[in-house]
Amino acid sequence: MSDKHSIPGPLANEGLPLAERGLFCDAPPRQYQRANKITEAFWNWARAQSLWILGFGTGCGAIELRPLMTSRFDMYRYGIQPRPTPRQSSVFVIGGYASVKTLKRIVRSYEQMMGPKFVVALGSCTINGGMYWDSYNTIKRIDQYIPVDVYIAGCMPRPEALLAGFQELKRIIRAGRGEGQNEYARKFEWYKANQKQVIKDWNMPDYNW
């Protein structure tokens, strides 16, 4: 990581084979200071106006992103556009239920995103398990594993609901409350413990920068 501030203790990366541990970073995430009030307000305004969604359709909610991207609902109007790589995107849309296998990729992609990053979770199944409350393979609430800014309820949420959700996200960002990244760093150990409880074969670095 490029920051030079003090870093809390290195991560163990126990899931990796010994030979590979040196290839990955062992620094946990850190919290970032906000800039002074006026600059931060300006930046937050720009962040709210340019939301780049990570193009990762994690669940069936992804099917309503297609209409949202195309001419009927046209999210580009609001400065929202899809972006294929986690490095460049700022919004992660969790499209509904997350199976354990997908959750692993969700965690990894989320950690690879550059902050400030925001998470929008779609559908009842991300909120409380929804229809799959008794399934052995889907988690019941996504905010145990990554911080969530906006939930959009429904099964599945309509494109209009998505647009409303994004407007809500914009309001949150402009008000300076979109601090999911710092939240994740602050409660890193808690999140990690939750993730490891569910992902039984943890074979990736503890923090993917």
Binding site: M1, S2, Y32, W43, R47, Y76, G79, T85, R87, M114
Partner: protein
């Protein structure tokens, strides 16, 4: 002397500022025009500004070593360098840049310099998509360079100079003096090469999101991405101005430049919306086929 130099530098900076903004607005408005073709409203015209501010305002960024940083720097240097040695507006002190030093060859060198720098930096990112994108980008670049170089040679033969200002000067005095009227064949070759150069469809495989998301800039983020976005605007502007100068009689005032470059860029968008993209082997084969033949024909016509 000092004052003269400072004035020149100041003028160049102003000119650079203007072309950056123009480039950004051009990208924004072209995105809006494409959206119209697709039946959408499209993003706001000023969206590229917001994206750049957003990218710069990112709190953290990661690095993959020194070369990784230098990639966008080289790219930006390539874009700025290209622009600074082209007269943006013929006969204007403010927009002539440093066109009296340096010639067409230097400008061509700068066009490819940025690509190479980007290639070095992106390969350092370690992502396989970056590496594949880079190799595709360089392969396609060598391919479209052939018709482009041929048409530049044709222009150079026709006007018997490599000095861009002189080439523009020779085209003054009405539409019939433009290269597009005197040697249309060379212009056709150059415009086809331009499609490849600006990486719009059907030659966009280098940055194709469906195949290798998204090619060389896969790992670039935050302020480095902001730099790349800025460069995209400058570089686009520079290439457009170069094409305008070489083939469409240059511009004697800013509005004329805006209109001409807008129309040249519009060709890209027009073609880009109507075609899928070619594979890299297909696009190489394409560029080395008909456009090269047309380019050679252009040179022959210029020789006659």
């Amino acid at each position: 002397m000092i004052t003269a130099i400072l004035t020149r530098v100041g003028y160049a900076l102003v000119s650079l500022f203007v072309i950056t903004n123009y480039g950004l607005l051009l990208i924004g408005s072209m995105a809006r025009i494409s959206a119209k073709v697709q039946g959408r409203v499209g993003q706001p015209v000023w969206q590229p500004y917001l994206d750049i501010i957003k990218s710069t305002a990112k709190r953290n960024s990661i690095s993959h070593g020194v070369m990784f940083y230098l990639g966008p720097v080289f790219r930006l240097a390539g874009g700025v360098g290209t622009y600074l040695f082209i007269p943006a507006v013929f006969g204007s002190a403010l927009f002539r840049n440093f066109s009296d030093s340096g010639d067409l060859l230097l400008v061509m060198y700068f066009i490819f310099f940025g690509q190479l720098g980007m290639a070095l930096g992106a390969s350092e990112g370690g992502h396989p998509y970056s590496a594949i994108g880079v190799s595709r980008g360089l392969a396609q670049m060598t391919a479209f360079e052939v018709p482009f170089a041929l048409s530049v040679i044709a222009v150079a033969i026709q006007y018997k100079t490599l000095d861009i200002t002189a080439i523009v000067a020779a085209q003054q005095g009405g539409f019939l003096h433009w290269t597009v009227a005197t040697n249309p064949v060379a212009v056709v070759a150059a415009l086809i090469a331009f499609l490849g150069m600006s990486m719009h469809n059907p030659f966009s495989v280098v940055i194709a999101p469906q195949e290798i998301p998204i090619g060389p800039p896969t790992e670039y983020q935050s302020n480095l991405l902001g730099m790349l976005q800025t460069n995209r605007a400058i570089f686009n502007g520079a290439k457009l101005v170069l094409y305008m100068n070489l083939f469409f009689g240059g511009a004697t005032s800013l509005p004329v430049m805006v209109i001409k470059t807008f129309l040249i860029y519009f060709i890209n968008v027009f073609v880009g919306q109507a075609f899928p993209r070619l594979r890299v082997d297909q696009s190489i084969r394409f560029f080395l086929g008909a456009p090269t033949v047309i380019g050679v024909a252009g040179v022959i016509i210029a020789l006659l």
